[in-house]
């Protein structure tokens, strides 16, 4: 069943609360910089939680050719983050786009529900409502309201548009897919794209995830779900994965695209290689006890032909949620508990929050960069261990001691995935 084709990662493009581009991103991880602040993108004062991981000074125009800029008008912010990260990934990979075979060039994204920008429905709404909550006059909406909405309104919010715009901007005519499994979408997209390359249906892939819930509609919904941290007085202390005082999730926004490539293709163009993707696994955690996490991790290890002791560190999902972190820690312990040394666990969300569909690739990028720098970043805000989370969370920069790491991702319904990457030497 295994293929002889090997898949390597040769580019990282990232737009993150910590910075834009892999150098700025790593620099912030190395210094332990906080990326979470009181929300500036809109006035959050009526929200129950009023902070998030926001990207400062992001302007998509900086990452798109002049001739293509008008297409930005039909891109919600999440799509713009995807398009910017894709351009940055191509730049980082050093590829000469003209030399790529477009039919062997694929695109795959993790994506989520895109909220409408409220003002786009403002005129239509005023025409067809009378101030009574829960009432819309659909006859008025249909007759007069529609004319007040931008004609391409719907296209701006379709979840597949990240991958569509990226394929159009870069002439990628190969396989194209969009995974919509919430927080685990990015890890699943990476897994699937690697399989497509391995089975010889593409040579070169842009694989990413991007999401922004830092807008009034998405944020109201997140507040209603009742799972957010309430530390409004100290946002920089709010995201504390596996730590005793954690009180909930912190929302962030961001996009990250990886260039994934057939090894021989990468060698032919003398590409710089970050890592090889050596294993993927996925499972469903039906009873919310971590069994799915364990099976996803074990199948990724098995596909890689590795033992738990071979893993340098686990790049955790680490939501900073009271229950979810305990389940995850238990699962990591089940897989790695018998290792000769406690496996270091690094939780990247402590820096920038939960990027939703953008989290998987963004967090993978942190460990990919760690391989090159020989150091695993600290997990921010890890002050007092929680006995319910019996794992060795990184407290400071730690030296890398082994060439492999494992990235785990999942979501609240139990959809789990894991990938294992190996440092390229």
């Amino acid at each position: 069943m295994s293929s002889s084709r090997r898949v390597v990662i040769t580019g990282i493009g990232i737009a993150n609360p910590l910075g834009i581009g892999p150098a700025a991103f790593w620099d912030a991880l190395e210094r332990g910089t906080n990326g979470i602040r009181t929300i500036q993108l809109f006035d959050p004062s009526a929200m129950t939680t009023r902070f998030a991981g926001e990207i400062e000074g992001f302007d998509a125009k900086d990452y798109i050719d002049k001739k293509d800029r008008k297409s930005l008008r039909v891109m919600a912010r999440g799509i713009q983050l995807a398009v910017a990260a894709a351009q940055l990934a191509l730049d980082d990979s050093g590829v000469d786009k003209e030399k790529l075979d477009p039919t062997r060039f694929g695109v795959e994204f993790g994506s989520g529900l895109l909220p409408t920008e409220l003002q786009e429905l403002g005129v239509a709404g005023q025409i067809s409502t009378n101030g009574v909550p829960g009432f819309v006059d659909l006859k008025k909406w249909g007759k007069e309201g529609l004319a007040g909405i931008p004609p391409l309104w719907m296209l701006k919010y379709l979840p597949n548009m990240h991958a569509c715009h990226v394929s159009i901007l870069h002439n990628a005519q190969g396989p194209n897919n969009t995974i919509t499994q919430s927080d685990v979408a990015g890890v699943l997209a990476v897994s699937e794209a690697s399989r497509i390359i391995a089975r010889n249906q593409a040579d070169f892939f842009l694989v990413g995830g991007a999401d922004s819930k830092v807008n009034p509609l998405s944020f109201v919904r997140q507040c209603l779900f009742g799972h957010l941290s309430q530390r409004n007085e100290s946002p920089d202390k709010a995201c504390r994965p596996f730590e005793r005082g954690r009180d909930g999730i912190v929302i962030g926004e961001g996009g990250c695209v990886l260039v994934m490539e057939d090894l021989e293709h990468a060698k032919r163009r003398s590409a710089r290689i970050y890592a090889e993707l050596v294993g993927c696994g996925a499972a469903f955690d039906r009873d919310h006890t971590g069994g799915g996490h364990v099976r996803a991790m074990r199948s990724a290890l098995a596909q890689a032909g590795l033992q738990p002791d071979d893993i340098d560190h686990v790049n955790a999902h680490g939501l900073s949620s009271v229950k979810s972190d305990a389940v995850e820690a238990g699962a990591i312990k089940q897989v790695f508990g018998s290792c000769r040394r406690p496996v270091p666990v690094f939780a990247p969300k402590s820096y920038f929050g939960n990027l939703g569909a953008g989290s998987g690739t963004s967090e993978l990028a942190a460990s990919l960069l760690a391989l090159g720098h020989g150091q695993i970043p600290a997990t921010r805000n890890y002050e007092e261990p929680d006995p319910a989370c019996p794992v060795a969370v990184t407290r400071r920069l730690e030296p890398l001691t082994r060439p492999h790491f494992l990235k785990l991702g999942f979501n609240e319904l139990g959809q789990c995935a894991a990938v294992v990457c190996k440092k390229w030497t």
Partner: protein, 429 residues
């Protein structure tokens, strides 16, 4: 030798019936599922009709339907179609290893709380600045939105609920590539089994965009037919007077299984999934490539994957949306792949009867293809009255046709340029 993947169960909730048999019989009879919209007051919209699922009762399929009261029909249809497919495959209560059984859906989003969202936007809207007061909006949203119903709009809920209810603990994916989604899901589910990640996958799609914002969006794009005076005649793929697609809704589910796994448990085998191709047009967000570049490449990809020559294909279930551009370009693409054989292979569009089930379309159409292989009767394209000189293939006009077919090609092309083709074949030991 790569692992072979067979289909051992099917289920469907559609505008033409709530079972695979009823769906197929209605298609052979050339019935239309299209009628004036009843789900909401649509009488002043530019398009006032759609193909709705009628008289659906989740209680007929699951023990505790009230568990999904907050869910949209995307989840509710999916649960029912999944129950049918798993039961059809003899899997309910059967001792298969749950960790080797996964899900890959192309399921759409849930339905937004339109009646609360719009007044809240209107209340906070400031015309002069074209902005909405986020403080007012947030205060109202926290008060009026229902947390459970808001959560159920998320894109991962349908595969999550179905996995939970039926105990499928293997890989769990959902893709949303517009109108290609459930075909792509079936293709990638096949690849997961081929690779060994699972032995069995429940795959398909579920979707409804027949709600105020969905119909609004498509009307604004001028993508929908406006044949308001005669809805059943509105979806007319390949006919000269076609003027846009017709929205449908529903779910189609298939059990895909590794051949030896199916044999060991003595499962009935409907057909073999032999080919899958996926490409992108990489052309424009709003238009497909005029020469069908991506469509040609994905049909070729599916044929190559199946190891079949075009002449072996006995029937093509077209994407056939009834828009001017799609039907013309799809015809061009079929001719490019099939050459002279293009005029000999019957082509039809299920959308002429079902409307366009968006993310769920491909799965329901693949079920139709499998039934055609099983029963040797090909469903027609209804409302085919005036030939279009640019669409000059054999579209099985208006009447079903008896023909034994061994290999069938099904096309699904998504808005934004994702193309998927699947090949199903008569099962041959």
């Amino acid at each position: 030798m790569r692992r072979r993947i067979v289909i051992t169960g099917m289920g469907a909730i559609t505008p033409l019936g709530h079972s695979v048999d009823e769906l197929y019989r209605s298609q052979l009879a050339g019935k239309s599922g299209v009628a004036p919209i009843r789900l909401f007051e649509a009488s002043t919209f530019p398009t006032t009709f759609a193909a709705e699922v009628k008289n659906f009762d989740l209680g007929g399929y699951v023990r505790d339907p009230q568990r999904w009261d907050n869910s949209g029909v995307n989840t509710r249809f999916a649960l029912a179609a999944a129950q049918q497919a798993l039961s059809d495959a003899g899997l309910l209560g059967n001792g298969v290893d749950p960790s080797r059984c996964g899900i890959y859906f192309g399921s759409g989003e849930g339905i937004q709380d339109f009646n609360h969202l719009i007044p809240l936007i209107a209340e906070g809207y400031r015309n002069r600045e074209n902005t909405v007061d986020s403080v007012k909006f947030a205060a109202g949203g926290l008060r009026y939105f229902h947390p459970g119903r808001e959560f159920e709009q998320e894109l991962h809920t349908t595969p999550g609920h179905v996995a939970d209810y039926f105990g499928l603990e293997g890989p769990n994916y959902n893709c949303l590539t517009a109108c290609a989604a459930s075909s792509q899901a079936i293709g990638e589910a096949t690849e997961l089994i081929r690779h060994g990640d699972a032995d069995l996958m429940l795959s398909g799609g579920s979707h409804s965009m027949i709600h105020p914002l969905g119909v609004t969006g498509f009307c604004l794009l001028t993508a929908l037919s406006k044949h308001n005076e005669e809805p059943t005649k509105a979806s007319r793929p390949f006919d000269l007077h076609r003027d846009g697609f017709v929205l449908g809704e529903g779910s189609g589910m298939l059990v895909l299984e590794e051949l030896e796994h199916a044999r060991r448990r003595g499962a009935r085998i409907y057909a073999e999934l032999t080919g899958y191709g996926s490409t992108a047009d990489a052309f424009r967000i709003t238009d497909s490539h005029p020469e069908g570049r991506g469509a040609i490449a994905c049909m070729q990809g599916a044929l190559d994957d199946a190891g079949l020559k075009p002449e072996t294909i006995g029937y093509i279930n077209a994407h056939g949306t009834s828009t001017q551009v799609n039907d013309r370009v799809e015809t061009v693409a079929i001719k490019k792949i099939f050459g002279a054989h293009a005029y000999k292979v019957p082509v039809s569009s299920s959308k002429s009867m079902l409307g366009h089930l968006i993310a769920a379309a491909g799965a329901v159409e693949l079920i139709t293809c499998i039934m055609a292989i099983q029963h040797g009767v090909l469903p027609p394209t209804i409302n085919y009255e005036v030939p279009d000189p640019e669409c000059d293939l054999d579209y099985i006009p208006n009447t079903a046709r008896e023909k034994r077919v061994d290999h069938v090609l099904s096309n699904s092309f998504g808005f934004g340029g994702q193309n998927v083709s699947l090949v199903v074949s008569r099962f041959d030991r």
